[in-house]
Each structure stands twice: as structure tokens, then as C-alpha cells.
């Protein structure tokens, strides 16, 4: 995969010049208190691409994912989604100021997010979990939203669980409802934060199967995962993150079979 053009620190790239770029993060720094978690990360994700972020826990990959839909503020750098700066706007003097909450919410509506712990609404049925966003954010009429919700639950293989509450679903089923909930907003991009890490081994397959289908249909996906088999099979590009920086990136074959960097080699060695 082609490397993104290097972006000078502080330069605002023009998103419109590369219409197929969905995510463009450049030189992102993020600190929690005195700990710098991201130390200048750059990442480009193109339309229809599946990018899998790998790395040891604590390397910053989840933080990077959360910065892409502005769940975390960033301390330096810029992140563009769909050609627009996410979470911030430039003031008259070119400095970044945080956007208003409503503007950020509009941007997030275009970005799906699937959580490690599902975060389904426990007081709502599977169908209501899926339809709440379209109804309240997109103002979609109830019947239309329910039709959409049923179609999406069918797509993730849960047409029989439409009226069931999360408490009565298995982990794998919950995560598939969560994916349907993200799809219901018709996002241009879905971010997956370790979607199978909280699952029993026998349920991982059903969730990965849904994700594989999504990838086949051309959904743009950024996935933080420890599922190397999935990464090898589905990813267009694997990005190795360690200690808050991108160590190397490339096709799955490059990264898994011919890792260039010592830190990638030792990380992969530990997994085997």
C-alpha cells in the first residue's frame, strides 16, 4: 500500500485533494497526565480499506482509535476524517480550538464505533439498540428505522433475536448487535476496538465472520485486534504500533512474514 505523503508538522493537509482518503492522522500526540501515550503517530486510511492496528497492550493503538472519533482530545497534530478536521476547528490565528459538542456529534454520526465490551443499552431490545441512533439522530420515522434495524440484524444473523434484551444474548450475539447498531448510522468508516477480546473463544468466529463480510462489501474499517489470523486474511494493511509510534506498516504478508523491525519481530514472536 502506498505510503501517505509526508506531512510537515503543523501543515494542514487539504483533504479534498485526496478524495479517497477517509482518515488522515498526522503527527498525533496524546498524553494522559505525565504519560505520553501517542508520540507522533501518522496514519492514512483510504476508502474501502481494512487497516488492522497491532501492538502490545499499552502501545497506544486503542488510544489512537479513540482519537479518530474524538473520544480523546489530542495534544498535538491533526486528524482529518472525510477531509474534515475532527473535534477541532482553526481559529482566526490558525490555532486549534475544540469544536462545539453538537458539531462533534454530527461528525461522529458518520463514524461507527464497536467497543470491546459491546456497551449495548441493557434496557432496550436488540432492535431498539439498533434503531435508537437513526431515530434520534437522523430523525428517521419509527417504522422506517425498524425496517432498517430488522434488515441489519438479519445481516448479522440475528433476525430471531430482534426483541431480545442484551442480558439474554451471548457475548458473540451482543457484539453482532453492536455491529448492527454501528451500521444503522450508515457510517463511512467503522472503528473496532478489540471487538473479540472479551469473547469466549467459541464466539470469536461468528463476530469475525460478520466483519469479514463487511470488509468484502467494501466497508472502510480500522480494527484494533489481537486476531492475527483475521488480520492476515482480511487486512489490506497491518500497522504495528509500539510505544506510541508507528513502527512499521505494510501488507499482512510483509508484516507477518518479513517484518522489517526488531520490535515487530519480538511482538509477533511472543504471540506464537
Amino acid at each position: 500500500m502506498a505510503q501517505p505523503g509526508p506531512t510537515q508538522r503543523g501543515e494542514v493537509p487539504d483533504g479534498s485533494s485526496a478524495p479517497d482518503v477517509i482518515v488522515h492522522a498526522s503527527d498525533v500526540h496524546k498524553r494522559f497526565g505525565s504519560v505520553e501515550v501517542l508520540k507522533g503517530v501518522s496514519l492514512v486510511v483510504r476508502r474501502g480499506e481494512v487497516v488492522v492496528l497491532i501492538g502490545a497492550s499499552g502501545s497506544g493503538k486503542t488510544t489512537l482509535l479513540r482519537c479518530i472519533n474524538h473520544f480523546e482530545r489530542i495534544d498535538q497534530g491533526r486528524i482529518f476524517v472525510n477531509g474534515r478536521l475532527i473535534g477541532y476547528r482553526s481559529d482566526a490565528r490558525g490555532r486549534l480550538v475544540e469544536e462545539r459538542a453538537s458539531a462533534i456529534a454530527r461528525q461522529r454520526a458518520e463514524i461507527g464505533f464497536v467497543f470491546q465490551h459491546f456497551n449495548l443499552y441493557p434496557n432496550k431490545s436488540a432492535l431498539e439498540n439498533v434503531t435508537l441512533g437513526p431515530r434520534k439522530v437522523r430523525k428517521m420515522p419509527r417504522l422506517q428505522a425498524e425496517e432498517l434495524g430488522r434488515r441489519l440484524l438479519q445481516r448479522v444473523g440475528l433476525e430471531s433475536k430482534v426483541d431480545v434484551h442484551p442480558a439474554q444474548l451471548s457475548g458473540g450475539q451482543k457484539q453482532r448487535v453492536a455491529i448492527a447498531r454501528a451500521l444503522a448510522m450508515q457510517p463511512k468508516l467503522i472503528l473496532f476496538d478489540e471487538p473479540t477480546s472479551a469473547l469466549d473463544p467459541e464466539m470469536i468466529g461468528e463476530v469475525l465472520a460478520v466483519m469479514r463480510d463487511l470488509a468484502k462489501e467494501g466497508m472502510t474499517m480500522v480494527v484494533v485486534s489481537h486476531e492475527m489470523g483475521f488480520a492476515r486474511e482480511v487486512a489490506d494493511r497491518v500497522v504495528m504500533i509500539d510505544d506510541g509510534v508507528v513502527v512499521e506498516e505494510g501488507s499482512p504478508a510483509q508484516i507477518f512474514d518479513r517484518p522489517a523491525h526488531e520490535r515487530t519481530r519480538s511482538f509477533l514472536a511472543k504471540l506464537l
Partner: protein, 291 residues
């Protein structure tokens, strides 16, 4: 009578007729007790929600105000608050309650003062209950709502607050139980609620034990009925969460006789509150002799 032969006096027929055929005055007192408690609890719940949200606000003076408010209303006797609101404010020339006519219906000044006081007092407690309940909702719920493009306000209103209700109902029920009994304090400023009416009946009949026993039974009936209503609400909420729970029958306190429930009740929802709320509003084990 059985009791008088033992040297005691118990006017059984007076007791029985007061219990079964209470006077119109007594029934009006009962009515006042109920509507005082219901109105004050309802208003206190709304103000309590505002206090809880203010306590989470970014504006420091607002948080400080709530802290001081809660500290004062929880730290002083309700009786003194009542007297200050009704008599104290008038004596100091700050505010005097006057009767308000709504059509043919008159809200006496003392009733207004009582509603105001009970509301302000209970709001301090409800604020704390709601604050704890809001923080008992998994932060992931707020993020999930935001991830679908909801504004922070929508996420609170549509996702977090409805889930907090499950943690609010049990302590709210306890507070409302106390509220119905505490309305008797309003007698000191002259509200004709059930206790004051009872006192008046006592001073004209001198059947002290009998008439106060009748009043006690009526208070007990009120709190018992509320207990059933509260259980029904809790079961309804659990159904909304897809958590099956057998109906809790009034004899469930005989659980020590029966087998302990062994089957787990559904799967517990993924979000359990912090330790302080553990056991609050969570599915109970099936228990009780007949369950």
C-alpha cells in the same frame, strides 16, 4: 370487656368504628397526608435531578451551591425547617404564605409551606440518590450513545438517565415511605393532615390509645400499599432490562423457612454499579416459601 377486667381501658367499639368508619375529618386528614407526600416527592425528584446534574456541572460555583444546599438541608431537623419556612420567614418579613384560591379549591398557606419545606428537604436527599445512580451507569453507555452521533444532552436524556432509574427506584421508595410518615410533622404549623386530625379527635374523646392506634394502622396501610407499588415498579423495570424475576410476594420475608433459590435469575446485566449500590435494584434471588 376483656381489657377492662384486667384494669386496662380499651374502648373496642370506638376503636373499631374509628378504624372501619373513620370520620370525614379523619379521611380529609388522610387525603392531605397523601397528597402532601405525593406532591412533595414528585417535585423533590425533579429538583433532585437538577441538583444531581448541577453537581456534575463544569461550573464550580454551581457545584458549591449544591454542596452547601445538601449540607444544610440534610444537616438540620426537618421540624426546624418547617417552622423557619412558615413562621420564621414571616416573622422576619421575608415571605408570608397566603391562601391561594384555584377556582373553588383553596390551598391553605400552611399546606403551601409544608409542600415547599418537604420538597426542598427531600430534594437534598434525591439529589444524592440520583447523583449516585447516574455514576452507577457504566460510562461506556454514554460513549456508545455518543458514538452513534448523539449530543451529550441526548446521550444523558435518552441513554444514561433511563438506566439510572433502575438504581433510583429502590432508595426513592424508601424515601417516599419516610416522607408519608414525616408529613405528620406538618401538624406543628397547623396542617390538618392525619396526625393533627387524630390529635383533635383525641382531645375531644380522650380515647388516646385507641385513636392513635387507628392512625398508626392507617400509616401502616399507606406504607404497605406503597411497598406493593414499589415492587411492581421494580419488576416492571427489570422486565425492561430483560431480567426475569419472580414476583416478590409479601410472604417472601418468610424466606428463612423456604429453600434458597438456586437457579440464577436470568443473566445479570453487564453493568453493575459501584459497591455502594451493589444490591440496590439488582435482581433478587428467588426466595420465599411459595416461590
Amino acid at each position: 370487656m376483656l381489657f377492662s377486667t384486667a384494669g386496662l381501658h380499651f374502648d373496642y367499639s370506638f376503636f373499631w368504628s374509628s378504624l372501619v368508619h373513620p370520620s370525614t375529618a379523619f379521611l380529609q386528614g388522610l387525603e392531605t397526608t397523601v397528597y402532601l407526600a405525593v406532591i412533595a416527592q414528585a417535585l423533590a425528584t425533579i429538583i433532585g435531578l437538577l441538583l444531581a446534574l448541577a453537581r456534575r456541572s463544569k461550573i464550580a460555583p454551581l457545584r458549591a451551591f449544591v454542596w452547601i444546599y445538601t449540607w444544610m438541608f440534610r444537616g438540620t431537623p426537618l421540624l426546624i425547617q418547617l417552622v423557619i419556612v412558615y413562621d420564621g420567614l414571616a416573622a422576619a418579613g421575608i415571605y408570608t404564605f397566603n391562601n391561594i384560591s384555584v377556582g373553588s379549591f383553596v390551598i391553605p398557606s400552611v399546606v403551601q409551606a409544608a409542600i415547599v419545606t418537604f420538597t426542598l428537604n427531600e430534594a437534598a436527599y434525591m439529589g444524592e440518590i440520583i447523583r449516585a445512580a447516574l455514576s452507577a451507569v457504566d460510562p461506556g453507555q454514554f460513549e456508545a450513545a455518543m458514538s452513534t452521533g448523539m449530543s451529550p444532552g441526548q446521550a444523558m436524556r435518552l441513554v444514561v438517565v433511563p438506566q439510572a432509574v433502575r438504581f433510583i427506584v429502590p432508595p426513592l421508595g424508601n424515601d417516599f415511605n419516610a416522607m408519608m410518615k414525616n408529613t405528620s410533622l406538618a401538624s406543628v404549623i397547623g396542617v390538618s393532615e392525619m396526625f393533627l386530625v387524630t390529635q383533635e379527635i383525641n382531645s375531644s374523646t380522650f380515647n388516646t390509645f385507641e385513636i392513635y392506634a387507628v392512625a398508626a394502622i392507617y400509616y401502616l396501610a399507606l406504607t404497605t400499599v406503597w411497598g406493593f407499588i414499589q415492587s411492581a415498579i421494580e419488576r416492571r423495570i427489570d422486565r425492561r432490562w430483560g431480567i426475569a424475576r419472580p414476583p416478590r410476594s409479601w410472604w417472601s420475608w418468610t424466606s428463612s423457612w423456604g429453600r434458597r433459590g438456586v437457579e440464577t435469575v436470568g443473566a445479570t446485566a453487564g453493568t453493575e454499579g459501584p459497591a455502594i449500590l451493589q444490591g440496590v435494584g439488582r435482581p433478587r434471588e428467588p426466595r420465599g416459601f411459595f416461590e
